[in-house]
């Protein structure tokens, strides 16, 4: 490229820098910024553009500095703990327990005083060694360095390396690396720079309202840009990736006629388990480990009647024609827990339904909690997606029908059903879906609510219930294998993650 071509593509800032360097010969970005009157960042950015055009270059010097940490600064003013320690010992405070009461840094002091061979300890008592006595008055090398550093940054090369390492290890010093660039023009740059004054007058860089008003652009040239040069990054505001998946699922469920429901996050065991016919004491309850609320431990009974029906159902089947479990623990039912399954909301919803509400379809997508140790597969917070369909004449084949429909919403290519066990459904099904890339994946569970669940809640029609592993589904959609990313705290990841399609 010749000098004119370069100039045609140069931004005003680049030209200003070229002009400045022609005068300064060589300069740092700070010096250029001062001369040109733009920010240091802008100088650096424009210099990089100019460098790609071959107009300038730079040399880089790396410099190390050390400076005091807050703790180091404190010691430089008030002496090192080991020094304070031997001073106290010299003044007769020589028992460790006593020292600890008087001097909070006794432990650190002892460690370093011993390292320095200043003290000996016998029977909890500290004795000064000869070395220690000598050092009482003298300022040692470490202290000298601390004092010096309290005034200024110091080139670490001037400090004894052993002492430097120790001080950094003790956290008294920090190291800082400074990179300094010195810019200078290439021959091409010099030639271009010499032509700038003329060009600046005849060219338009940024169009302004003034130029447009004055029609000044008509007899000037509008400068050409190098459209391939990097521009500053910007980040859009956007919906969190996991939420985008949830919104898609919601949209599809609403289109299938489902109404969205919500429920409380702190739940009575009653709604979380007992109303779902999970026995008070049975291995079935081991499916769930719960988070129990510390205080208050128990909630209130609002509808005595439904509690009585559930109690009877557990004890002897009530009017459901079931044998029941033979026992029920009301105290446990009153216990407050963090909702462990979205089915609690289904139970509450069934309890609130009136005859005229039927047929009825609801879903809920909500937070649940289980005491898992957090890792790539487990999170104490997780979301469940649950749905129920209530209506006369519903049957097992219909349940499979809904599962097939739901599998479509998650983009499955093939589906398969398998028997499974849930305490609150009979005709319990696991839905497996097939994806080309992943093979068979468990997508969710479903079943027909047991009469022991529906009848005490006042429902005499069949209730089809299903749950979808929405977190797992989202992980597949987002192509991630760590569940924690669903609740990501990584801004970089969220900014760069593509929109869910």
């Amino acid at each position: 490229m010749n000098p004119l071509e370069i100039l045609e593509k140069m931004h005003d800032d680049e030209k200003k820098i070229l002009k400045a360097l022609l005068e300064l010969k060589q300069a740092t970005s700070d010096e250029i910024a001062k001369k040109v009157g733009v920010s240091k960042n802008e100088v650096e950015r424009a210099s990089m553009w100019a460098k790609t055009k071959g107009a300038l270059d730079f040399s880089e010097q790396v410099k190390e500095h050390v400076f005091l940490s807050p703790e180091g600064r404190e010691y430089s003013e008030k002496d090192l703990p080991e020094k304070n320690l031997i001073k106290l010992v010299q003044n007769g405070v020589d028992r460790i327990d006593e020292l600890k009461r008087k001097f909070s840094r006794t432990d650190i002091g002892i460690i370093w005083a011993r390292n320095n061979d200043w003290i000996k300890i016998t029977d909890g008592k500290i004795l000064l060694t000869k070395n220690g006595l000598e050092n009482l008055k003298k300022q040692n090398e470490t202290e000298k360095i601390l004092k010096e550093l309290s005034h200024d940054k110091v080139d670490p090369k001037k400090i004894d390396q052993k002492i430097l390492e120790t001080l950094i290890k003790r956290g008294l010093l920090s190291k800082e690396i400074e990179k300094k660039k010195t810019y200078f023009l290439t021959d091409l740059g010099k030639q271009a720079a010499k032509r700038i004054p003329k060009i600046l007058e005849n060219e338009i860089g940024q169009l302004t309202p003034e130029i447009l008003l004055s029609k000044g652009w008509k007899n000037k040239k509008i400068r050409k840009y190098d459209v391939t040069l990097p521009s500053p990054k910007i980040f859009p505001g956007k919906i969190q990736p996991y939420r985008q998946v949830i919104d898609e699922v919601k949209e599809k469920l609403v289109s299938l006629g489902f109404v969205e429901m919500r429920g409380p996050l702190v739940e009575l065991n009653f709604w979380n388990c007992d109303a779902l016919f999970m026995p008070s004491d049975h291995p079935a309850r081991a499916i769930h480990d719960f988070f129990y609320v510390k205080n208050p431990k128990y909630g209130k009974i609002l509808d005595r009647e439904v509690w009585r029906r559930v109690e009877q159902t557990h004890k002897n089947g009530w009017e459901t024609k079931s044998k029941g479990w033979g026992y029920w623990n009301e105290d446990l039912a009153k216990r407050l827990v963090l909702r462990s399954q979205g089915t609690a909301v289904s139970a509450r919803t069934l309890h609130s339904l009136k005859k005229e509400d039927l047929p009825f379809k609801m879903f809920m997508i909500g937070r649940c909690f289980r005491p898992d140790v957090v890792d790539a597969q487990h999170s104490v917070d997780f979301d469940q997606c649950e749905g129920i369909v209530v209506g006369d004449g519903l049957n097992f084949i219909n349940l499979l029908g809904y599962l097939k429909e739901i599998a479509k919403t998650v983009g499955a290519e093939k589906i398969s059903f398998k028997p499974v066990y849930f305490p609150f459904t009979e005709g319990s099904v696991e839905l497996k879906v097939y994806y080309k890339e992943l093979g068979w994946v468990e997508a969710g569970g479903a079943g027909i609510f047991r009469p022991e669940v529906t009848m005490p809640l006042g429902i005499n029609a069949p209730v089809l219930a299903w749950g979808l592993g929405i977190g797992r589904l989202a992980m597949m959609k987002l192509n991630i294998d760590d569940i924690r990313l669903l609740y990501s705290e990584d801004l970089g990841w969220m900014r760069s993650k593509e929109i869910v399609r």
Partner: protein, 544 residues
């Protein structure tokens, strides 16, 4: 959900025919347990809690044979063994059940199975031996009279695997099983034992004696159970006894002489009447009685057709059958879930989004329009983050059994989570303007659950020039977009700088707060950049 590994060859021997791995997997998955892994000599299954009768290899083989038609439902009967067990007063574990299995051939597979089934039943139904403890002995090494009673800890026995006579107290202290299960009895002054003419032969729920241990030469077995729930003991005994008889032994009963005389086991079937129309309605097919009865047979039930009713005999080992729907499910399983043609019913309803979710969604749209990035964070948090670091005073719902210091309760505000997120992203380009729309939980003793779940919307500006006026413009714009008439009042609340915090009201109703975050709070969160933030109640906005 117990995961159990079986000897594949023993299983195939019990089934009595060759099956490929694929066949095995298909059949087992169709019955209910989930096949986890099959190797050349082992098969690993994950079981569900409702079918403990399939935990043992014999019960599993029976289910497979029934399902594939190699076995018909059997009627189990028991002869009397003429063996009596006298039961004394054992307050700790007052109830027992026992059975004799005669003429068994103890192959290595059987011995392994004996150990496995005891272990898994102890862990599951037995609730780690608290509700049921099982002991299985060589009957021919037991010399009546047999007693079950409570004795002093100084009583001697030779525990299984040892040659040394020890006191029960020593067993508790020195034996592995003693240390593991000792807590179940140690609070009592007298401990349960079975003894015969030669002394103690079982120390439930801890360990058996070495003298009566089962060996390859054993011909006759005594299974004894102790516990606190007779129903559960009988069920467990039935699972054990019917399982063992799958290997060809004969089950015999034992008389239990307690306050009254009982005879265990009771292997009689339970009769259940199911309604054919209800079954057909439940499944969605129109099956004839003969079809149903052949499906029932595949699941181990014998049945009699009584017109519209079918009388079903439920085998004694099926402890999960509480209601006719349990039998319905088995009919569907026998039919094969994948053999049904799924069909969505013609059931028209109108779908809809929850009101609060709807307003949340609108708020999100606006915030994104302002250029904010949405985050979704855990609802669980801790005292330190919610209160100590923010200097805000308040109460949160706390957990009795937290698994980590990070998650000890439920958040009362979204802001601390946003601050935590900012502190984790100090190396990332600024400005960092983020928001969350999410739930918090406030203690409230007037509520059924002693708390209220509330929906909040919170946002932060975090960059070198984040300021009060910036956040005020944002909040005011939000309010105007929702058509809310509001007033702004000064507050001295943390986490804001005094004089730079404000509350926003609509009449008497406080909608939220906003302001510039106090530098001490920023420091507590390790933040080195100014932050201005707001938090507003979404439900209140939706009501206005």
């Amino acid at each position: 959900m117990p995961t159990i590994t079986y000897d594949k060859l023993d299983l195939l021997n019990l089934i009595g025919r060759k099956m490929t791995d694929q066949e095995l997997e298909e059949v087992i998955n169709s019955i209910k347990p989930e096949v986890v892994k099959i190797t050349h000599d082992q098969i690993t299954l994950e079981h569900y809690q409702d079918r403990p009768d399939m935990y043992g290899i014999e019960g599993l083989a029976r289910a497979i044979k029934l399902y594939t038609g190699r076995e018909k439902p059997r009627k189990f009967t028991e002869k009397s063994s003429r063996i009596d067990i006298k039961v004394g007063s054992v307050p700790l574990r007052p109830l027992i059940a026992a059975a004799v299995i005669k003429n068994v051939k103890l192959t290595s597979g059987f011995i392994e199975s004996l150990m496995n089934i005891q272990e898994v039943l102890h862990e599951t139904i037995g609730r780690k031996r608290k509700k049921v403890a099982i002991g299985i002995h060589d009957l021919d090494k037991i010399f009546p009279p047999i007693n079950y009673e409570a004795v002093l800890p100084s009583t001697k026995m030779v525990p299984l695997g040892s040659t040394k006579e020890m006191s029960l107290m020593e067993v508790l202290k020195e034996n592995d099983k003693g240390r593991k299960y000792g807590a179940l009895i140690s609070q009592s002054s007298k401990w349960p034992v079975y003894s015969d003419a030669k002394g103690v032969f079982s120390f439930p729920p801890i360990i058996n004696s070495d003298r009566t241990k089962v060996t390859p030469q054993t011909k006759n077995l005594l299974a004894e159970l102790t516990g606190i729930d007779m129903h559960l003991l009988n069920q467990t005994l039935n699972i054990l006894a019917t399982g063992f008889s799958q290997r060809g032994g004969e089950i015999e009963s034992v008389r239990i002489l307690g306050k009254k005389i009982e005879v265990t086991p009771d292997l009689s079937e339970q009769s259940m009447e199911i309604n054919l129309d209800e079954l057909n309605d439940w499944i969605g097919l129109k099956m004839q009685p003969n079809q149903v009865s052949s499906l029932l047979e595949k699941m181990g039930y014998s049945s009699k057709d009584r017109g519209k009713k079918i009388e079903v005999s439920v085998p004694c080992y099926r402890i999960d059958i509480l209601h006719q729907v349990d039998v319905f499910e088995d009919v569907a399983i026998a039919h094969g879930f994948n053999n049904f043609i799924p069909k969505i019913p013609n059931l028209s309803t109108t779908g809809g989004i929850d009101k609060l979710e709807k307003i949340s969604s609108k708020i999100r749209q606006l915030m994104v329009g302002f250029g904010f990035l949405e985050v979704v964070l855990p609802v669980m948090s801790n005292q330190e983050e919610q209160f100590a670091k923010t200097k805000v005073k308040g109460m949160m719902v706390e957990i009795e059994n937290p698994v980590s210091e990070e998650y000890t309760g439920l958040r009362v505000s979204l802001l601390p989570g946003l601050f935590r997120l900012l502190s984790k992203n100090r190396h990332v380009e600024y400005p960092q303007n983020i928001f969350e729309v999410g739930d918090i939980v406030v203690p409230d003793n007037d509520q059924e659950t002693m708390s209220r779940t509330e929906r909040k919307i919170s946002g932060v500006f975090c960059h070198s020039k984040a300021s009060f006026s910036e956040i005020k413009s944002l909040v005011e714009s939000l309010m105007k977009n929702f058509g809310v008439n509001y007033q702004i009042e000064q507050t001295e609340e943390m986490p804001f700088i005094a004089g730079r915090g404000a509350a926003i009201y609509s009449g008497e109703m406080k909608l939220g707060i906003f302001g510039e975050i106090h530098p001490q709070v920023l420091e507590n969160f390790g933040l080195e950049m100014p932050v201005a933030s707001f938090e507003i109640d979404a439900e209140l906005i939706s009501m206005i």
